[in-house]
């Protein structure tokens, strides 16, 4: 089924003056796999919403022009009708399932279409086989990992057998291994002659799948390449447009853009007791036989940024929680309070409570000192927002407010949980810069991440975890190749 956008303009406001999409003409042929890339706020998600009918049928705003699915105009259809032809997968795995158990979830779309129960059962079994998710059948979705949830979402959409698939940043919350599984799923759809439209920042996994990569800027398609063309232009070219790297292998020789980092980044630090922080006996288990975390000694280079990599379920988050005193025995927790690690969560909305940015920083401060708080905010380029409500800020600013609250709590170690998930290249650089500044100001940073570009830009050493243990720990300098290999083969 062909998708045609004719002279489409759209604005989230009441007039078309500041439109997100301006006079867009765009055609996606049947069976094509098209990737929309571009910096945050360029309008690529809006294009995906135009295709799955959320605009104009769900989202309020002003629209001009026509979107045709085959020869039908989406404006004349209902969302239920469109859902027969277009299946959508979204970014956040937590908020896109409607049922509590996996089986009902996969059947959900078919049930909504009023299909015959026998037919639905057949389809569910077929999809489970096609996606190799037999081990997920009959499970509670709340107990699944993000990657598993995303697979269920894909399976559920696939069960209704639509001609078009629209995916909005499906990989944002996934590790590289799950991303590879996602690539397999998209490849499978493509082999069945389906049309696939993907909005994405991380594009490396689509290297062998995508037919076209369309660069969206200011609500227009500004440029278009095949994956091979974009790869040939190199990661520097992609970075200049604010795009992520097309081929991770190319990063092996890349020089970090933020070379003027803290002193320690150039001279590899000697691991002596003075220069590293040592932690003993980091253990955690739900059950004696299967420890989730089993680290006898952890040494963190002081005032440096250390990345923790490893696949989902390797114990990275548990390590962070034990270090921050959120999990473990009361003795571990008491110890954690003493040496103090502060966690910046992946969803920073969870840790902003108060009515103003300044109050947020003051809250954890003992004794409270407004002048010192303002200094912290100035260091994070937030001084002009001191009296704004934290929830009114952008994602990146919110993250910096959370960092500010961590700094003001006086804890020396700051742990980040996936600080760059779903960010474009420039936002990722901004986060790297903030982290480096924090490290120079005397904090020791630990970053859980699946983002190799980010690690190469700002981390000094890497810890790879496996089955709750530290598999290896090395300095990044000179080991870039090893890192990329490890991340690609997790």
């Amino acid at each position: 089924m062909t998708i045609t956008l004719k002279n489409v303009s759209f604005s989230y406001a009441e007039s078309l003056d500041d439109a997100v999409i301006k006079n867009l003409n765009f055609e996606i042929k049947s069976g094509e796999c098209v990737v929309l890339v571009g910096e945050s706020g360029c309008g690529k998600t809006t294009i995906s919403k135009l295709i799955n009918g959320l605009i104009p049928l769900y989202q309020s705003g002003t629209m001009a022009g026509d979107v045709l699915l085959g020869d039908k105009n989406t404006a004349d259809m209902t969302l239920a009708e469109i859902s027969r032809h277009v299946g959508s997968v979204f970014q956040n795995p937590r908020s896109q399932f409607f049922n509590i158990d996996t089986d009902s979830e996969i059947a959900f779309g078919c049930e909504n279409l009023g299909m015959d129960p026998e037919e639905i059962r057949g389809r569910v079994n077929r999809v489970v086989k096609e996606f190799h998710i037999e081990h997920l059948a009959g499970r509670n979705i709340f107990h699944l990992s993000g990657g598993e949830k995303q697979k269920i979402a894909c399976a559920s959409v696939s069960a209704t057998d639509p001609e078009i698939f629209v995916l909005d940043e499906p990989s944002a919350n996934l590790d590289l291994k799950t991303v590879a599984d996602l690539a397999e799923i998209i490849k499978f759809w493509k082999s069945r002659g389906k049309t696939v439209v993907i909005v994405e920042h991380r594009i490396h996994y689509l290297r062998n799948i995508a037919d076209r990569i369309c660069y969206v800027k200011d609500g227009q398609i500004q440029d278009e390449w095949t994956p091979t063309e974009l790869e040939a232009k190199g990661p520097e070219y992609a970075a200049s447009l604010g795009l992520r790297c097309m081929n991770l292998e190319q990063l092996k020789n890349k020089v970090p853009e933020l070379a003027e980092g803290p002193e320690g980044s150039k001279v590899p630090a000697k691991r002596t007791l003075k220069e590293s922080l040592l932690f003993n006996n980091l253990h955690f288990a739900y059950n004696r036989k299967f420890p989730v975390l089993d680290i006898p000694v952890l040494s963190l280079p002081r005032n440096q940024i250390t990345a923790i990599i490893g696949h989902n379920g390797a114990g990275k988050s548990t390590l962070a929680q034990v270090l921050c005193g959120l999990r473990g025995t009361w003795r571990q927790k008491r110890k954690a309070r003493k040496y103090g690690a502060y966690l910046i969560m992946q969803d920073v909305n969870h840790q902003l409570f108060t009515e103003s940015v300044l109050e947020e920083v003051l809250l954890g401060m003992r004794p409270q000192n407004e002048k010192a708080a303002l200094e912290i905010l100035a260091g994070l380029n937030l001084d002009q927002y001191a009296h704004e409500h934290p929830m009114a800020l952008s994602g990146g600013q919110k993250q910096r407010v959370a960092i500010g609250s961590g700094v003001s709590s006086g804890r020396d170690i700051v742990v980040f949980d996936e600080p760059t998930s779903g960010l474009d290249y420039r936002q990722m650089l901004a986060v790297s810069a903030t982290l480096q500044k924090l490290a120079t100001s005397g904090k020791t940073l630990l970053v859980i991440t699946h983002d190799p570009e980010f690690i190469l830009n700002c981390c000094q050493s890497v810890i790879r975890m496996e089955y709750g243990k530290i598999a290896e720990q090395y300095l990044l300098q000179g080991n870039q190749e090893k890192l990329i290999e490890a991340m690609l083969n997790v």
Binding site: N52, G53, L54, Y58, T78, L79, A80, I82, S83, R84, V86, G87, S88, F90, N92, R94, S95, Q96, F97, F98, N99, I100, D101, D103, S104, A107, F108, G109, C110, E111, N112, L113, G114, M115, D116, P117, I120, V124, F142, S156, V157, T160, Q321, G325, L326, Y342, L343, M345, D347, N349, H350, Q351, L352, F353, T354, L363, G364, M391, S405, S409
Partner: protein, 162 residues
């Protein structure tokens, strides 16, 4: 009989527990064992319109989310050194409520919105008639339980009257 202040407090707490406990137990049981699609199928068998069923179904789906989010927020608060029972919170109990509720409401609104987007793009709408994989019906077992419950209620009422 004079039981003193402590005794009165104890008795009234126990009264509260014994009255609230059955309700919460039933609530917990219903929420954890009812599958959303079974619930929707049952409701549509009873000819209750989708406009009523869908919001109720969303509610079942939403409870585990509320607990998940609340736990994350509680963790964040603990890191800031704000605990539920401390000198500071006793001085200002309203602030603690605010700190807990604001982030919870913000993230729940966001999740609620994303959830309804996901459900509508997958064809859930009040106008169309759904089918259901699970067979739901009113059988002998249901009649038996129904009769039993009514009998208990009648017995209880008649005893408390006499």
């Amino acid at each position: 009989m004079d039981v003193g202040l402590a005794g009165t407090l104890f008795v009234s707490t126990m009264m509260l527990v014994s009255h609230v406990m059955p309700i919460s137990v039933i609530f917990y049981y219903v929420m954890t064992t009812t599958k959303v699609n079974e619930f929707m199928a049952g409701m549509s068998k009873m000819h209750i319109p989708n406009k009523v069923t869908i919001p109720l179904a969303v509610m079942i789906r939403f409870f585990p989310t509320v607990f998940d989010e609340a736990r994350d927020i509680g963790n964040a608060m603990r890191m800031r050194g704000i605990r539920l029972f401390s000198l500071r919170t006793l001085k200002n109990p309203l602030a603690i409520l605010e700190y807990r509720l604001i982030p919870l409401l913000v993230s729940l609104t966001k999740i609620g919105d994303e959830l309804s987007v996901a459900a509508t793009t997958r064809g859930l709408s009040p106008e169309t008639r759904r089918s259901c994989v699970v067979k739901i019906g009113f059988h002998v077992q249901d009649v038996a339980v129904f009769v039993y419950c009514i009998a208990v209620v009648v017995l209880f009422c008649s005893r408390s009257v006499t």
